[in-house]
Amino acid sequence: MLKRLLEYVGFEPGRFQARWISGSEGAKFTTTIKDMTEKIKSLGPNKKMRDDIV
C-alpha cells in the first residue's frame, strides 16, 4: 500500500522496497541487498524529499 502511494506521488518504482527476511535466511538477505543496491544505484540520487529542497 505505502509503496503504491509513494509511486503515486511521484517516487520512482523501486525507490522504496520492502522485503520480509527471516533471521535464518542469510543467503536471501545477501541477494536481496545486492539487488536492492543495484536497483537504487541505477535510479541515481533521490530527488524527492531532500533537505536541500526548500
Binding site: M1, L5, Y8, G10, P13, W20, K48, I53
Partner: protein, 320 residues
C-alpha cells in the same frame, strides 16, 4: 425540505424533553445564505435553530469524540457519508453505542457554497430549498434560483455511495435510490497512468502550497489520536518547517495514517484553504484497498474489519 426541517425539530425536541439526550448536534443557518454552522442544542426551546438542506456539508460525527466522556447522551444529525464516520468510530471503540442517538437524514447531495454564493444576490436571506432530482431550487427574499447538481454539487456527492445513512436510530425523510458509479476512481486512474516525472510535478505543485494549517487533520472524524504525530515535539517525527520536502512528508503520513479508516467523507478536501486535492490521495488508498484486499469503503457497513488492521493468510504478499 421544510417537512424534513419540521420533523428534525420535532424529533430533537422530543429527545431533549424526554431526557433521552442532553445535547443535539445539528446544522443551523450560518451568517450567509449558502452556509450552515454546527449548532449544539441543550434545551427543547433551542430546536428552532435546526435546519437542513443542500448547504449542510459538514461532517458532524467529528464532534462525537469530544463528548465521549460527557455525562448524558448525545444526538447527532448525519448524512449518508457522515454515518460511515459513526460506524468507524464505533468499530474503533472511540464512542459507545448506548451514548449516541443517530438522527439520519437521506441526503440528495450538497452544493458547493462558494459557487452558490457567487450567484445569489449578496445579503439575500434564504426562504426555502427543494430537491428537484437533477437540480436544487433555492428560494430567497431576493428571487428564486436553480442550481443543477452536475455543476454545483461537491465532487464527492457526484459519486456518492451512501445517500442513505448506513446507521440511524431515527431516520427523517424518504430513503433515496442508491447508485453505483463505475467511474468512482476515474481521476485516480488518470493520474496513475502518467509518468513518474509528471506525477511528481503534479504533487509538487500541490504540496508546495500547503500552509500546514492542519485544517484537514482537525476536521477529520477518524483522526482520533490524543497526541498527533504532527504536534509531537519529542521525538519530532515530522519537522514543522513548511517546505516542499516536509510538506510531502506530512501529506504522505496524513493519508497513510487514516488508510483503512478514512471513510471518504471528503471533509479534508473541502476545508483546505489552498484547494489541495486531498481526496485524490485518500482515494488512491481506497482504490488500492479495493484492488488488493477487496475492501469496501470503511464504515459503509458495521463490523467490516479494517483491511490494514488485520491479517489473513490470503493477503497479497508483494514484499515476500
Amino acid at each position: 425540505m421544510m417537512d424534513v426541517i419540521q420533523q428534525l425539530r420535532e424529533q430533537a425536541k422530543k429527545l431533549l424533553e424526554e431526557k433521552k439526550v442532553t445535547l443535539v448536534i445539528g446544522f443551523g443557518q450560518g451568517t450567509e445564505l449558502a452556509r450552515t454552522t454546527p449548532v449544539f442544542i441543550d434545551s427543547p426551546e433551542g430546536v428552532s435553530a435546526l435546519t437542513w438542506g443542500p448547504f449542510c456539508a459538514n461532517n458532524l460525527a467529528k464532534y462525537l469524540t469530544d463528548y465521549k466522556n460527557a455525562e448524558g447522551n448525545v444526538a447527532v444529525v448525519v448524512k449518508g457519508c457522515d454515518a460511515r464516520s459513526v460506524i468507524r468510530l464505533l468499530d474503533d471503540n472511540q464512542i459507545s453505542r448506548d451514548k449516541v442517538v443517530v438522527i439520519g437524514v437521506p441526503c440528495p447531495g450538497q452544493l458547493e457554497w462558494q459557487k452558490v454564493a457567487a450567484e445569489v444576490k449578496p445579503g439575500a436571506s434564504l426562504k426555502e430549498t427543494a430537491d428537484n432530482g437533477e437540480s436544487f431550487s433555492v428560494k430567497t427574499d431576493a428571487g428564486d434560483y436553480s442550481f443543477n447538481k452536475k455543476d454545483y454539487m461537491l465532487h464527492r456527492c457526484l459519486v456518492c455511495e451512501n445517500p442513505n445513512p448506513v446507521i440511524s436510530d431515527i431516520t427523517i425523510g424518504k430513503e433515496l435510490p442508491v447508485k453505483t458509479y463505475e467511474e468512482r476512481f476515474a481521476e485516480v486512474s488518470e493520474l496513475e497512468q502518467k509518468s513518474t516525472e509528471d506525477k511528481s510535478a503534479y504533487w509538487d505543485k500541490q504540496f508546495s502550497r500547503c500552509l500546514r494549517c492542519y485544517a484537514c487533520r482537525n476536521v477529520c472524524s477518524v483522526c482520533t489520536c490524543q497526541i498527533c504525530v504532527f504536534d509531537q515535539m519529542l521525538p519530532m517525527w515530522v519537522s514543522k518547517r513548511t517546505n516542499l520536502s516536509e510538506n510531502t512528508m506530512f501529506h504522505i503520513t496524513r493519508a497513510f495514517h487514516v488508510a483503512g479508516r478514512c471513510v471518504d467523507c471528503g471533509e479534508c478536501d473541502r476545508v483546505c484553504p489552498m484547494d489541495i486535492p486531498l481526496r485524490k490521495l485518500n482515494q488512491k488508498i481506497h482504490k488500492d484497498l479495493g484492488d488488493l484486499f477487496d475492501s469496501p469503503t470503511p464504515g459503509s457497513k458495521p463490523g467490516i474489519p479494517s483491511a490494514l488492521g488485520e491479517f489473513s493468510p490470503g493477503d497479497p504478499e508483494e514484499f515476500m
